[in-house]
Each structure stands twice: as C-alpha cells, then as structure tokens.
C-alpha cells in the first residue's frame, strides 16, 4: 500500500480530536497500548497503528478497520498511556463516526449486539439478560447457542422469562431521543 499525503493530512485527526476531546497528535508511538491490549491478536490493526493512521489522515483505513469494533473498552491502554491519550475514548468515537457515516462494520455481530443491548435498555429501562441473549441469538441465527446453559440458569432461578420493566420507561425513551438529537448536532 502506498498512501498519499496531501495538505489536508491533519483534517481527519483534527475531527477525531474534536469529537473525542482527546488530542490525537500527542501520541508518540511508544506502543504501550498495544503491549497491554487483551484482544490485539484478533485486531486488523494494533491500537498504536490506528493512532498512527488517524495522524496520517487515512480515514478509509481507520473507519473500515476491525480494531474499533473489537475494542472491549477495558481501558488498559488509557490507564497505561504515558502521554495521557484516552485511546478507549478514541475507539468509541471511531465507532460512532463509522456508523454515522454509514461504514459497514466487518464484524456486524458487534453492531447487532450493541443495538440489541441499547434497544433493551430503551424499551425496558434495564438490561434483561434473557431478552438480550435470545434476540441476539435469533438475529445472528445461532438458535441453540445458549440453550443448554440457559436452561440450567433458569432452573436455578438466575434468569427469568418474565419481562420486568422499570417504572419510567417514558423517561428512558426521551433520554435516548435527546442523546440522539445531541449527537446529531455533531457535538
């Protein structure tokens, strides 16, 4: 791959810095984030490579990368970074930006999981494991994935099939609407 560097090389980095409130250009490529990352072996780019790609303004590579979608937000990188760069937050920003700009995640199940998780909270006001597992497994067409352990958990009363909602689900909906409107403004 040969990449082109133009006069607007810093535009993408500035956008990310602005959206995440983290100065991407403080990164000096020591590699501490990559050293501590628990899932780096599954990633298409290491965290420090993502930081470098952002600095180089390679938007397509960054937003098509698998790395932000696999990031578990464990924040080991953020804690360890000698320059105080909040890498986990940047990964979060990249996920938001990628969805907003219509990039297809190479790991659609992560997107599905996030959607189901948030929808569950929006509708019920709390996370209900049974609901989450069932809808997720249906959507990803793994119908019997958790059937065995689910049965055991159910027998021991760890999970229930009844759908309990919190009282203020209306308030939850308006919170979601307002945050969506807030994000829509690009702030």
């Amino acid at each position: 791959m040969i990449y082109q560097l133009n006069a607007d090389v810093r535009n993408f980095g500035k956008t990310i810095s602005q959206l995440s409130d983290v100065d991407i250009y403080t990164c000096y490529q020591c590699g501490k984030c990559t050293a501590g990352c628990p899932i780096v072996m599954e990633m298409s780019h290491t965290p420090n490579q993502i930081m470098r790609l952002i600095q180089l303004g390679l938007k397509e590579d960054v937003l098509n990368s698998l790395t932000p979608w696999l990031c578990a937000a464990c924040e080991t990188c953020t804690t360890r970074c000698p320059k105080g760069v909040d890498i986990a937050k940047i990964m979060d920003t990249l996920r938001i930006l990628a969805r907003k700009e219509g990039y297809q995640s190479k790991e659609p199940n992560v997107v599905n999981f996030n959607d189901i998780f948030l929808n569950c909270i929006k509708d019920k006001g709390r996370l209900q494991e049974t609901h989450l597992a069932m809808v997720y497994n249906l959507k990803t067409r793994q119908f019997f994935k958790d059937a065995d352990i689910g049965r055991k958990l159910f027998m021991k009363g760890k999970i229930s099939l009844s759908s309990d909602k919190i009282k203020g689900t209306d308030a939850m909906k308006s919170i979601f609407e307002r945050s969506r409107a807030f994000l829509g403004k690009g702030e």
Partner: protein, 457 residues
C-alpha cells in the same frame, strides 16, 4: 580521586554538608557541617579490622541494596578517604547501648562514640555545584512488578553486579536464587519520556548504558540472550551509533521496538509481555532477569540546596544555568557554577566537559587581580533614598546591601549600597524605587530622554 586527595591544594570534606552560603563572588562565607563519623580521621590507619569484625549487617546503599555492608563501613573499597564511618541508626552501640567491638579492636584507638559534628566557617571565592542525581523509583509501575519481583532490577543494580568490586565479585547472578541468567530483558524509558507517571524529559544516558550492559552480559555469559524493549535509540555522540550497531550485530542483542505491559512470575521465570510495534503484534519473553532503565531525577534535596546557594531550579529540581547555549556552566548568581547531572541528565563525557568548563571559569575568575564585569549596574543616590528597602526585596541577585557609614561629625548612618560585582543590571530595582533614586549606569533617565530626542529629530 586518590590523586586529588593527595594534592596539597585540594581539601576534600566528605560526609559534610553545606548549611549556609552568604556573601558574593570572591567573598562567599560558607558554613559547613562536618558530620561526626565517630572515627578519628587523623588516627585511623585504614587497616579495615573494624568493618571486618563488626557484627551488624545492613543492605549497602552504594551497592543499591544488592549486597550488604557493616554498621561501621567504607562505602566501597576505593573510597576516599579510606576512613570508615559509623552508621548510628544501625550500630549496636547506639541501638542496644553495648558492643564496642570496633573500639576494642582498633589498634590506633580511632573509634570515638562521643565525637560530635564539627562546624567549619570559611571564606571561599567561588562555588561549583556538582551534586549529581538520584534514580527514579520504578515501583510506581505496577506493570513492571511494582517492586515485588527480586529479579526486576535497575540498571545501576546490574552495574554493581557486573563490577569486580561489587557484592558478587563481578559474577552476574539473579538476586532471587543466585543462578546465572540466560535470557535477559531490558526495558528502556522507565520514568523518562513519560509525563503521566514519570518525567517528560529523556534521561539521555540509558540507551548507551543498556547497550553497554548487553555487551558486558554477552562477554560474561557467552550463551546469554539479551532483549531490549526500546522506544527510540538515542545514540547521538561520538562513535555512539556504531557502538549500538555493534551491540546488535556482534553481541546478538535483540532490539524490540515497543513497550512492556506486564511482568509476571511463572515458575522461576519472569514472563515479560510487551508489544513489537514494528511487527504489529504482541510478544512474550521468558526472562531470567529484567533490567529497568530508570530515569535520572534531580537529587531529592536539590531545592533546599538551591535556596541555600540562591540559584534557580526548574520544575524537576535541576539547577538552571545562566544561558542554555552561551553560559551553560554559570548560574545567575555570579561565582556559583554547575557541573554534571545536577543541571540536567548528562553522560560521562558531557559531565567531564561541563566540569572542565566550570573549573576553567573558576581559574579565570581567580587569575586576575580585578574582576571585569558588565558596566551596566545600578547606583543608589543615597541623598534621596528613603531607606524603604523595596529594592532589596525585588533584587533577584541579592546585590543590594545595607551598610553603616560614619559621617564627618562622627555620627553613624545606615544606607544602602549596590554590590557591583553581584548586580546584573536587570533594572528591577530601578522600576521599583519609589523615590527614583536608583539608576542604571549608562541608562539614566536623562540619557534615554536624549536618545529619544535624537531619534525624534
């Protein structure tokens, strides 16, 4: 060191502390506390019986706690002067009130438990500050073990292990079980270039001493493998880069560009988990010994010393030079010079260069009968001065002093005077003076006004 101790023009005061410095260039009054070493320096012959027979053993500070010393000790075999000192905190005579073994055995009768601190007050012409540095404490890094693992040591500890005069007699062994290490990991920039947990500056010596350690390890243990985790290799200096290249090519050191995120014990090995950013992956090394290149920091008491000497220091506690390029060994206080790592992290050639520079500056200062200074100094018109002493408060060089003069009729009067050798002509007093009685020579109001008039014409 031995040579300087034998020079008749050099007096070495070890185990002593400068307590107060007053006066100015050429006329410093210095109070030095010569601490009681409890051994008479004149009587002691340096035979060494006392520290051979002393029953108390404590970790040796000079060996970075890799070895032990006695309660009466000399820090290392070549120490100057060759006179032991008694460590009051650990000596049995002071902890339990009895023992006296060293006193009984000393044939020269030099041990004196009653000895007291001696205070010397003397005049000196110039001061050279060469107080050196401290090492950063790497235990703030939990990922490097936080001080839990015996086999994670600092570069200076390895230096003591390699030294023929060190605690192991030059045999490099693991501190935990005394076995020879076969796979050694070095981690660079521990505390340096880390604004979050350490210091933002580069310690400037670690790249080179780590390469040297890799070479020495290979020479001591031919089947050793050295792995060096680095961020950048900073080998600016004569022949430095060639040395690093030789370390890689001839001594088989594996340089891994990346950081370490975790060290943990597995059996008697330490597993070092880190990143190789060039390969774009993580790496695990099964190591016997881990050496941390800990940062150089200012001496813990450098700020107090700076206050005693009246010299500025930076936010890290390093003393500030007069000008970073044009006056690197001078300070704003005339007559006080800097040498070595008390100013900033420095390697040996840089320290020698700075020390030579400071020595020559002092020699030049002492060689003349007169001191040539910048002519732009302030003067006080004492007939107008109201003695409010606001100028004394603002003067950064303490150049304004109070003096007592005798008038013609015999009455005594106090007035202020500017020490011309100390004044730098900064003008702080001029702008502060309420009665406008202080002027800079060559920059009086009249002169400036005339200059303005000439420009305006």
């Amino acid at each position: 060191m031995v040579e300087s101790s034998q020079n008749e023009n050099i007096e070495i005061l070890t185990y002593s502390e400068v307590e107060e410095v007053s006066g100015y260039i050429g006329n410093f009054d210095v109070r030095i506390r010569k601490k009681a070493r409890l051994v008479d320096m004149k009587k002691c012959t340096g035979c060494g019986t006392c520290y051979q027979k002393c029953p108390v053993k404590v970790p040796s500070e000079f060996d970075m706690e890799t070895g032990m010393r006695k309660a009466i000790y000399i820090p290392f075999p070549q120490a100057v002067p060759n006179v032991p000192v008694i460590d009051k905190v650990n000596c049995r005579m002071f902890t339990k009130g009895k023992c006296q073994i060293c006193q009984k055995l000393c044939q020269a009768e030099a041990v004196d438990y009653e000895q007291e601190d001696e205070v010397i007050e003397d005049k000196f012409g110039a001061v050279v500050v060469a107080t050196g540095y401290d090492l950063f404490d790497a235990s703030v890094y939990g990922e490097y073990g936080g001080g839990r693992f015996k086999d994670v040591i600092s570069g200076l500890q390895l230096e003591r292990l390699i030294s023929p005069a060190g605690p192991t007699g030059g045999h490099i062994v693991r501190p935990s079980d005394g076995k020879e290490p076969k796979n050694v990991v070095f981690i660079q920039c521990v505390g340096s270039r880390d604004p979050e947990k350490g210091f933002p500056y580069c310690s400037s010596v670690c790249c080179m001493y780590t390469a040297k350690h890799a070479v020495l390890l290979k020479e001591h243990i031919p089947d050793v493998q050295t792995n060096i985790f680095y961020m950048d290799i900073r080998s600016a200096g004569k022949n430095y880069e060639q040395f690093v290249q030789r370390t890689m090519e001839q001594y088989g050191a594996l340089y891994i560009r990346g950081r370490v995120s975790k060290i943990y014990q597995r059996g008697d090995k330490l597993i070092v988990k880190g990143a190789d950013t060039l390969a774009g992956s993580q790496v695990e090394v099964e190591a016997d010994l881990v050496v941390l290149a800990t940062a150089i920091t200012a001496r813990h008491d450098s700020k107090e010393l700076a206050k005693i000497l009246g010299i500025p220091y930076d936010q890290f506690g390093f003393f500030t030079e007069l000008h970073p390029k044009l006056a690197p060994v001078e300070t704003v206080t005339s007559g006080v010079f800097l040498a070595g790592a008390c100013q900033s992290p420095k390697d040996i050639p840089d320290t020698v260069a700075a020390a030579s520079g400071a020595a020559v500056k002092v020699a030049a200062l002492f060689s003349g009968d007169f001191l040539s200074m910048e002519p732009l100094v302030s003067t006080i018109d004492t007939s107008v001065c109201s003695m409010c002493k606001a100028c004394m408060e603002v003067c950064p060089y303490n150049a304004i002093q109070e003096e007592e003069i005798t008038l013609r009729d015999g009455t005594k009067k106090k007035q202020l005077k500017v020490l011309e050798s100390v004044c730098h002509g900064c003008g702080a007093c001029v702008s502060t003076c309420r009665s406008s009685c202080i002027m800079l020579k060559g920059m009086t109001d009249e002169q400036i006004f005339e200059e303005l008039m000439a420009v305006a014409q």
